[in-house]
């Protein structure tokens, strides 16, 4: 994408959110949220379906008005100066909004026209952008013939057509296969690294948030639960490293006996003689476990040490796993169904 000249990262390419609330009847979809996004960072909202992520993105991209609170995007108030905000941002909504019955190139040039761009400029920019999202050969193909990942990349190109300073992506990889997800991730990192864009994205995949975001707000039921860098978030959970082990036969004392090991905070029994052991230091706990097994004449069939995941962080702060929390009836936002 380096061949596209872009405005230098602007001082005001950040986002400030102050006490934003959005109510739908009695439901507080977004409930007093405040945070700041610095220019040039990748900021993520991680939360289960129905947490209010799309609603917040719609407020920040001027699609709906907040019930209360204020926010500035690229230095412009979202309610007072929505047109200035719209000029400065690119948006890739959760549902595909590119037109399946138009070619990739037409999707881009028509979108460019919505920004009042001249004809010749529209064409060259569209070609360059398609090239940069690896769709250079697909300019004349109808958007409906693209795979999910290619379609998403087309939408990203479309969101970039007017050279915005901030890009909003609502669940950019939901519904994509693993390979397509990787290609979208690469593109997002690339945009920040090479172009200095500010990126604001939402996701309900913890691995995605972990891998992409510089800072992350975990949201649940319209509120920010905790906000920090993924690494810092993981260290806030007591028992930051996890041992998974299968014993044969089972310990007579079970999980309670394992909890007496030094540095161990908590033990989850996962199945017949299978345990998850949360400790401060994985290798020490592993040594203690092997010592215990030797003393008790028990064989350790498997043993793995993992660091905490954001899932554990979510569990720690909300008392529920990220995917149990999806139990909130997930309406594809605004009551529409996702096209895939």
């Amino acid at each position: 994408m380096s061949e596209i000249s872009r405005k230098p990262p602007h001082e005001s390419a950040g986002i400030e959110v102050r006490h934003i609330c959005k109510r739908f009847g009695s439901l507080a979809a977004v409930d007093d949220i405040s945070f700041e996004v610095k220019p040039g960072e990748i900021f993520g909202l991680l939360g289960p379906n129905g947490a209010g992520k799309s609603t917040l993105i719609r407020i920040l991209t001027t699609l709906i008005d907040p019930t209360s609170g204020t926010a500035t995007v690229a230095g412009h108030d979202i309610v007072q100066a929505p047109y200035a905000v719209r000029e400065a941002i690119g948006v890739i909504p959760q549902n595909m909004t590119s037109d399946p019955d138009l070619t990739c190139e037409e999707n881009l040039t028509i979108h460019a026209r919505l920004y009042g761009m001249s004809g010749a400029r529209r064409k060259t920019l569209a070609r360059q952008l398609l090239e940069s999202v690896n769709l250079g050969k697909w300019g004349k193909a109808y958007a409906r013939t693209l795979s999910g990942g290619m379609r998403r990349r087309l939408e990203i190109a479309r969101g970039l057509i007017h050279q915005p300073r901030i890009l909003f992506l609502d669940e950019p990889t939901t519904g994509l296969d693993p390979v397509s997800r990787m290609s979208v991730w690469e593109m997002i990192s690339h945009l920040r690294d090479q172009q200095g864009l500010t990126l604001f994205l939402t996701t309900h995949y913890m691995d995605e948030a972990d891998r992409l975001c510089d800072r992350l707000a975990i949201v649940d039921r319209g509120k920010i639960v905790v906000l920090n860098s993924p690494a810092a978030l993981k260290t806030t959970v007591p028992g930051a490293s996890v041992l998974e082990t299968q014993l044969a036969p089972d310990l007579p004392g079970g999980a309670a006996e394992l909890e007496t090991l030094p540095g161990v905070h908590r033990v989850q029994k996962q199945g017949e003689a299978i345990y998850r052991i949360f400790s401060d230091h994985g290798p020490n706990a592993a040594e203690a476990l092997m010592e215990l097994a030797r003393r008790s004449g028990i064989e350790i069939k498997t043993l793995s040490i993992q660091s905490t995941t954001l899932d554990d962080v979510f569990l720690h702060f909300t008392g529920r796993g990220l995917h149990e929390a999806d139990a909130v009836p997930a309406r594809g936002g605004m009551g529409r169904t996702a096209p895939f």
Partner: protein, 374 residues
């Protein structure tokens, strides 16, 4: 304003690329034109008329001759002689005859004695068009026969009678031609309904409009873009039905350049009125079922009261009110004037004015109702 062109470009590329929508908008009006045009309005012919003559006198001869004259020329009915009243009536009740004429005994004698004899005409009135045509033919005969009796020998002294001679202002108009203005208006309406209603709401519910709303396009540009692309589509299918329908129904001198120019004007104005009406109706709708559900109702409510298929003068008062507020009425009237009468601006001036005012009001309402947000 440049931004509105983005919406127009998108809609028109799609419209002219896939002919489905265009074809769909042409099928209903053309099928209606051909089927309704031939189903209604034909002259009633060949009704089977049972004739029972119970009088053998000389005066039955001119009467029967008049029947034969009608049978040979207008061919409204085919006389079939029956020997008895009972058998003729049985055939009428069985549906084998459409009417029975009974010339009573002593008809000739009573006529000569000026006793005003009565001839019986029994009609099967379950079909009013049919019985009406037969009755009209007989009223005609009776009128001729009731002219003052003139002895044959003074026939050359015949005084000048006043007769009503109907002058038809325009050449005889087949029903298909009468229907054509309605079909063209219907084409405009169907395009407005499908392109401006169904496809519009489908795009909206698929989230395509979200892609517009995050850009700096203004509400005015959005509305004018949607309306303008709708109008271009409606004009395309309206003109197609006009030309195809004009050829099928045999409109005379269809390709007169001035006529085509006025027809184009009428089409632009009619399309504007119907599209902006549709846009007003759809401004707040987001459920894709709504435009589908109201399609049929709206079609019936606008098309039939407009005078497209039957003269407004024949409607009950409440429906005449409906006709007055129906934009269809003015489009149909304007097209009819241009297609069947003379090519001139004066007869369609009022129609154009009403449609322009309608457009202005509907557009103002639509812009007010349209929300530039989700």
């Amino acid at each position: 304003m440049n931004r509105a062109l983005a919406i127009i470009e998108r809609d028109l590329r799609k419209f002219f690329r896939s002919p489905t929508l265009l074809i769909v908008t042409l099928v209903l009006p053309l099928v209606q034109l051909v089927v309704l045009g031939n189903a209604f309005g034909g002259n009633i012919r060949n009704v089977k008329l049972g004739v029972v003559t119970l009088d053998r006198g000389p005066e039955t001869v001119p009467l029967l001759r008049k029947l034969d004259a009608i049978a040979a020329n207008a061919r409204t009915f085919v006389p079939i002689a029956y020997s008895g009243q009972g058998r003729a009536m049985a055939a009428l009740k069985a549906g084998r005859l459409g009417a029975v004429l009974i010339i009573p005994p002593h008809y000739s004698r009573n006529l000569l004695l000026k006793l005003n004899p009565r001839v019986g005409l029994i009609v099967d009135n379950t079909d009013r068009s049919l019985s009406g045509a037969v009755e009209a033919a007989f009223n005609n005969i009776a009128q001729q026969m009731n002219q003052p009796f003139q002895p044959a020998r003074v026939a050359d002294l015949e005084p000048p009678y006043v007769r009503i001679a109907t002058v038809e202002l325009y050449p005889y108009i087949p029903y298909m031609q009468y229907l054509l203005p309605g079909s063209v208006t219907l084409a405009l309406f169907v395009t407005a309904m499908i392109g401006g209603g169904i496809v519009f709401i489908d795009d909206k519910s698929r989230g395509l409009h979200e892609g517009y709303l995050v850009t700096p396009i203004t509400k005015f540009e959005l509305v004018s873009g949607f309306v303008a692309s709708g109008v271009v589509k409606a004009i395309a299918s309206g003109l197609t039905v006009l030309i195809l329908g004009g050829i099928i129904s045999g409109i005379q001198d269809l390709f007169n350049p001035l006529r085509l120019l006025f027809l184009l004007l009428m089409t632009v104005v009619g399309a504007l009125a119907l599209i902006s009406m549709m846009f007003l109706l759809m401004a707040r709708v987001s459920d894709p079922l709504v435009p589908r559900a109201i399609f049929g109702v709206l079609n019936t409510l606008l098309f039939f009261p407009s005078g497209a298929v039957y003269p407004i003068e024949g409607f009950p008062p409440w429906m005449r009110v409906l006709a007055r507020v129906d934009p269809f009425t003015y489009a149909v009237h304007g097209y009819r004037a241009l297609l069947l009468k003379q090519v001139a601006l004066a007869p369609i001036g009022r129609d154009l004015l009403v449609l322009c005012v309608t457009t202005a009001l509907m557009l103002a309402g639509a812009s007010w109702a349209f929300k530039r947000s989700l």
